[in-house]
Amino acid sequence: MRFGIVVFPGSNCDEDAFHAAKTVFGQDADYLWHKDTDLKGADVVILPGGFAHGDYLRTGAMARFSPIMAAVRAFAERGGPVLGICNGFQILLESGLLPGAMLRNKGLKYRCEHVHVRVEQTDTPFTRAASVGQVLRIPIGHGEGNYFAPSDMLQRLEANRQVILRYTDPHGRLDDTANPNGSVNAIAGLCNERRNVVGMMPHPERACEPLLGGIDGRAIFESIVGTFRPADRFALQPSVVGSGVGDERSADQRSASLSGERHR
């Protein structure tokens, strides 16, 4: 399948998502420059982590106005799978593709460490390969991951089973000390009502290779890759794009693909 990874100015986990999709999972992947208006035939769109537009004003607040977001929105409305990771999650919230908002972490500091999240729902394109109650050990890295929603919205989210990941201890038990940022109801990941748009604060792309100290993030990628059927294509016009290798030198491909050039 074909991954489309959006690059905003200030995105910094774009190459990590690309590497996971391309090198670890052997899928096709393209970078989508934020000024672009089409998704180059992507079957799944990832909004990666980082600090889009410097996260000035509010995290994700500027990114929603980037031209690519109209295409992402249209793709989501057709039922296309969209995953926002970290800053990508924040952008989905600011764009209204997911409900709620982010506050600063309860400790007021940026936190980067491994945390445990419990899978709550498996009927989304990004959690299908996991089982309910499964605990995943995945890193976080954020200063504003304290998810907030007003109580009526929260009730609706829970009633609709839209909370798909919660911070827990290693045994899957809810515990205030295991909630790294103070998120309401320990929410670490969320989907929309239609269940095709998912946002999560932990970085699954950082936990896909044993060398990096854990592979629990694979469940997220395996969900989307393993259950993909060509009939699921949501893109308007799948275009044919060549592929390169995803490694440290992929900056070449990236700049080439960002400037609209096709590369082998």
Partner: protein, 748 residues
């Protein structure tokens, strides 16, 4: 017009001014005086340090780029180069900790990508006063937040570092930042301007009045008026730098550039002069064309501004449009502000009218070089005296339990988790040895290899003996790299000292440089670049002489990386190297007796080299499961740290007592807490022990099994008697909460 007060404000000495007049053949105007003052400042000219730095080894088959460029580079195989350097931002960080540290990170990152390398890792080495003092906590919080704020945003992981707390740094913290990047060896870009008529472009943030005379500030001591210098500290914008980084790397792939240089200290002045000088050319610019964010700026201010996130580049003829287009894509504007000339002059105009004209040579090669007077400091003989039998008796059993807990809870030794979890250390998905687990190690995607890096320094050792202390810093950094399984390749240094105009400080500096040279030669880690920070004094009190050494090493197989933690119960614990019962300058004396005395541990460079080679061999053959260097706190602390962050694996060891004093308690102390160099604690499955001991014997490295992992207690015997018996939990709690405890209460 130019009077003594004006010269003093510019940090120029009367004889230096005479030299300027002599060289120019006339009096300089104010703009020219400003240009001279920054280029001849200690920070830019290295006028006090240069004669000593020339003695350092800088060559080797692995070195692709030695000192003189924006950063050094070494060959790491596969046609790739590791580009790295360390730099200080001490003075700005004291005045404004957040922005001072943030712009320090920004500056070193620019040095790396200026060379055409993509930055992939950061380290930092920090020094503060005692953590018990509230002012220290404000500085620590600010500096850490500044490093995090910049590094996290730009997306370069901070993969390691070190922090030391000593009263000596209370009035003058040290903030040294190291950055490493990867480039194709054939594509390294240099900071040269050449080709008469070629366009000189200005790219990045607009120029403001911030940071004017930053380089001069960094070349003077602090006093009670230093807070007034706050406007000389720049403000960083990591987002702008991220755009610059991506745009510059993209431009460099087009081969459309002649050269590029960042505008760091002394801003536009330094970049135009140095690029012209390196290319044997001149640069002419018109300051009216420089993008400005304030109105009414004078040529003087524009030339001396240290506004951040700015680059100067020279385009190849006919490629200008291509260059401009790439910057445009990133919403940056490349502005042509001048051209390269063939006359070797820095020529500055304002709307066509000449405002300054100085030969590059006068600013660079002809800058003053001082062979400053040196004398051995008076304190030295006195502080080197240490009578172990005169140490006051310390409480009865379980004295050693208390001592170990006290050392583990000393902020210098304790876990720095509170700090490093504020840094994104995993972005770019390369980090395979996380901070706190040994040297920082990042794999190189697309290859089997990984790079290990460590920054180390011990100001206390250098205070007691700068020559030996500096050697020990090189050895420790290289040893940490070797512990991870990587072969040390090269080094970078950051030399933090007091006022070089004082002979005792200059003596410390010269001795330290000698020590670095000796160790780098013996361990084959040439110095490829670095930075000197002098005048680290407040009200006449200098910091401990603190050379910080960054060493980079290559691991042939990333998956054979070794960390500090014990892996499994029942493994053998082996001590490589030998203890000599050395207590001089130790963390033990400092923590338990409030003493900074004695001579630092002896260092046999041949033994050190053999030890490091052995570590690399053992890792390559997958014979070791963990390796941890014995440093602050000695053997007892090292073994304890091997147990931490595991699932509570304990250890039981037994060693001989040393024979250094009449008092048996002191002899046990020396064995447990002495900091003899060239020692590493490793663990291995018991079946591999024989082979390890054979390899060690062949390498002439002393090695012996001192115990076994297992249980949930730390039991240590010295001289046949168990003197430490603690639960791993209790020990780990002391170690992991020591720094955090100062900050938890403040969180609402």
């Amino acid at each position: 017009m130019i009077d003594p007060q004006l010269l003093e404000r510019h940090g120029l000495k009367p004889d230096e001014y005479e030299r300027i007049v002599l060289f120019m053949g006339r009096e300089p105007n104010l703009t020219e005086l400003g240009i001279f003052s920054v280029m001849w400042s200690e920070h830019c000219s290295y006028k006090s340090s240069r004669v000593h730095l020339k003695t350092l080894p800088t060559e080797g088959p692995q070195v692709l780029q030695g000192p003189g460029e924006n950063a050094g580079a070494v060959d790491i195989g596969d046609g790739l180069a590791a580009v790295f350097k360390i730099e200080s931002h001490n003075h700005p960080s004291f005045i404004e900790p957040y922005q001072g540290a943030a712009t320090g990170v920004g500056g070193i990152i620019r040095d790396i990508f200026t060379m055409g390398a993509r930055p992939i890792a950061l380290l930092n080495s920090l020094r503060f006063g005692a953590l018990e003092v509230p002012g220290t906590r404000r500085l620590l919080e600010g500096v850490v937040a500044g490093i995090a704020g910049y590094g996290n945003s730009i997306g370069i992981p901070t993969v390691g570092g070190e922090i030391v707390f000593e009263p000596s740094y209370a009035g003058n913290p040290l903030v040294n930042v190291f950055c490493l990047g990867i480039a194709k060896a054939s594509d390294i870009v240099k900071g040269v301007a050449s080709g008469v008529g070629n366009s000189v472009y200005y790219v990045g943030a607009k120029t403001g009045r911030d940071g004017i005379h930053g380089a001069t500030m960094a070349s003077a001591e602090f006093d009670e008026k230093s807070a007034e210098k706050r406007p000389a500290v720049q403000v960083g914008d990591p987002f702008m730098e991220k755009l610059l980084l991506e745009a510059c790397l993209e431009v460099m792939q087009t081969d459309a550039l002649v050269g590029i240089q960042d505008m760091g200290a002394a801003g536009l002045t330094c970049s135009t002069t140095e690029m012209g000088s390196r290319g044997g050319a001149g640069v002419e610019i018109d300051v009216a064309l420089v993008p400005q964010r304030e109105t009414g700026m004078t040529p003087y201010e524009i030339m001396l501004s240290e506004s951040q996130e700015r680059m100067l580049l020279v385009a190849k003829p006919g490629r200008e449009a291509e260059v401009e287009r790439i910057f445009e894509k990133w919403d940056l504007h490349a502005v042509r502000i001048g051209h390269v000339t063939g006359d070797g002059l820095l020529r500055v105009k304002e709307r066509g009218a000449l405002v300054a004209e100085i030969p590059n040579r006068a600013l660079t090669d002809e800058a003053p070089v001082y062979r400053r007077p040196m004398t051995e400091p008076e304190y030295l003989r006195e502080v080197q005296q240490l009578d172990l039998d005169a140490l006051p008796k310390k409480g009865p059993y379980p004295f050693f339990d208390h001592a170990l807990l006290a050392l583990l809870g000393s902020p210098t030794v304790a876990s720095k988790r509170w700090v490093y979890r504020q840094y994104d250390h995993m972005v770019r998905t390369n980090t395979i040895n996380l901070p706190g687990f040994g040297a920082g190690v990042v794999r190189i995607k697309g290859t089997d290899r990984a790079l290990a890096m460590s920054v180390d320094g011990n100001g206390r050792y250098c205070y007691l003996d700068p020559y030996r202390g500096a050697m020990l810093a090189v050895a420790e950094a290289a040893r940490n790299v070797a512990c991870s399984g990587a072969r040390p390749l090269a080094a970078t240094n950051c030399l933090n000292f007091g006022n070089p105009e004082r002979p005792a400080i200059m003596w410390q500096f010269a001795k330290a440089v000698e020590g670095i040279g000796a160790a780098c030669r013996a361990l084959d880690v040439p110095i490829t670049g670095g930075n000197v920070s002098l005048y680290n004094e407040t009200d006449g009190n200098a910091v401990y002489p603190t050379p910080t050494i960054g060493v980079v090493g290559l691991l042939e197989h990333a998956d054979r990386v070794v960390g500090r933690r014990f892996q499994e119960s029942g493994d053998a614990i082996i001590l490589l190297g030998e203890g000599g019962g050395e207590l001089g300058g130790t963390e033990y004396l400092k923590v338990m007796h409030d003493l900074v005395r004695g001579v630092p541990p002896a260092l046999d460079l041949e033994a050190e080299r053999a030890l490091q080679a052995l570590l690399v061999t053992l890792a390559a053959e997958r014979l070791v499961r963990s390796a941890h260097d014995c440093s602050d706190g000695g053997l007892a602390v090292t073994v304890a740290e091997c147990c931490f962050d595991t699932i509570g694996i304990g250890a039981e060891i037994s060693v001989a007592a040393d024979e250094v004093a009449r008092d048996p308690q002191v002899n046990v102390t020396a064995a447990l807490f002495g900091e003899s160099a060239s020692r590493v604690v490793i663990s291995a499955v018991s079946e591999d022990v024989t082979r390890i001991l054979e390899r060690a014997a062949a390498a002439r490295v002393p090695a012996r099994v001192i115990g076994q992992t297992g249980g949930n207690r730390l039991r240590m015997a010295a001289g046949g008697e168990v003197v430490i018996d603690l639960s791993v939990d209790a020990a780990e709690r002391a170690w992991s909460t020591a720094i955090e405890q100062y900050f938890v209460k403040r969180v609402a």
